[in-house]
């Protein structure tokens, strides 16, 4: 059964959907932390489908839109990494009540992995699923700035990343692919160090990266090793053919079935299933 509703987080009404299984398999539920900006909209079908699959497997799921996203109040410029963590924490407390679960597993995608990791540490979560994580925030921010440069190239104009950064400092925001990236958000994204963020988390972790990753897997393996080195059992999976947070994949209705199956298998194999 699916129930859509609003809840309040620090003065904002946030939209959420609870997916309830017919027969709960365990006392844990899953809270989904969506990615940033356009990636959130484009990955929406995949996250909805996966939430339904988890519910079929007996795991209740809470999906929600952070302030400034989707059907929640506010505009994207209201959102920072910190506000998204705060929203995730409120959503988690709500999930425990509404879904009647003791343990929470956070599922994050892209920027949502950093939100999930920090919310998991604050909320003493039972597990953490990191799909295609942003391991290095500086690198991710650089990709975003490059997208702005590429958009200018298509308009046959030349701009450098330094000039985009100067515009960001001067105007406090810059438009990238139809969304405004604020200076505060850019600073918080640039400071993301996921290896450090998982360092206080000791429960089971699942990390995934797409197949044929052009830059290899060293950063993901480093993340998985960091989890394992401080006692968090960690599974690293290479799954998913295409970046399902991009336009082409959504238009093609691409779903990463192998990623779904690996993650479902991991969920079923954890100690919360007795």
């Amino acid at each position: 059964m699916e129930e859509a509703f609003f809840f309040e987080s620090v003065g904002y009404r946030l939209f959420a959907v609870a997916h309830r299984p017919d027969r709960p398999a365990a006392g844990v539920g899953v809270v989904v932390c969506h990615p940033y900006g356009e990636e959130k909209q484009l990955s929406y079908p995949v996250l909805v489908r996966f939430a339904r699959l988890l519910a079929q497997d007996g795991f209740p799921v809470l999906r929600f839109d952070c302030r400034g996203y989707g059907d929640s109040e506010g505009v994207l410029e209201d959102a920072t990494v910190e506000t998204q963590i705060a929203d995730a924490v409120v959503a988690t407390r709500l999930a425990r009540e509404r879904l009647k679960v003791d343990g929470i597993v956070f599922l994050g995608l892209r920027l949502g992995t950093s939100i999930a990791a920090r919310a998991a540490a604050r909320e003493a979560a039972a597990g953490l699923i990191l799909w295609c994580p942003i391991v290095n925030g500086r690198q991710y921010l650089d990709e975003m700035l490059r997208k702005k440069v590429f958009a200018e190239i298509l308009a046959k104009r030349r701009v450098t990343r330094q000039e985009v950064l100067e515009e960001l400092a001067r105007e406090s925001r810059v438009e990238i692919e139809g969304n405004f990236l604020t200076r505060q958000m850019s600073e918080e994204i640039g400071a993301i160090d996921l290896v450090a963020e998982v360092s206080t988390f000791h429960q089971p972790v699942f990390v995934s990266a797409l197949k044929n990753h052009p830059n290899g897997y060293a950063s993901y393996e480093g993340l998985a090793n960091a989890c394992a080195s401080h006692g968090a059992p960690c599974e690293f999976a290479v799954a998913g053919e295409r970046p399902f947070w991009e336009r082409d994949a959504m238009y093609d209705q691409y779903y990463p079935q192998d990623l779904f199956e690996r993650t479902r298998g991991w969920m079923r194999a954890q100690p919360w299933i007795s």
Binding site: E143, R146, K147, K148, V149, F150, A151, I153, L154, K156, R157, R158, T160, R161, Q162, E177, P214, N215, E246, R247, D248, D252
Partner: protein, 85 residues
Amino acid sequence: MSVEQTITQFIVTQIMRGQTQVSVGLDYPLIEERVLDSMDLHRLVVFLEAQFGILVDDEHLLPDNFASVRAIAEMVTRLRGADGS
């Protein structure tokens, strides 16, 4: 496979995904004909860097360098030469 063929194959298979109502020749105007959007350019540059072991820094992110397969290949060749590869 030549640099030009490698780039063409990537554009046809990964960006156009086989939807080839047009034939992408060496001088086909990729930007003017809207073959590439900003996300595609990002993917293309990531591919070029990984495939050819080059760094496409800001000074090379110019409209003329992405105007056609030939222009992209020439940029790659210049960057490979600059790296001594």
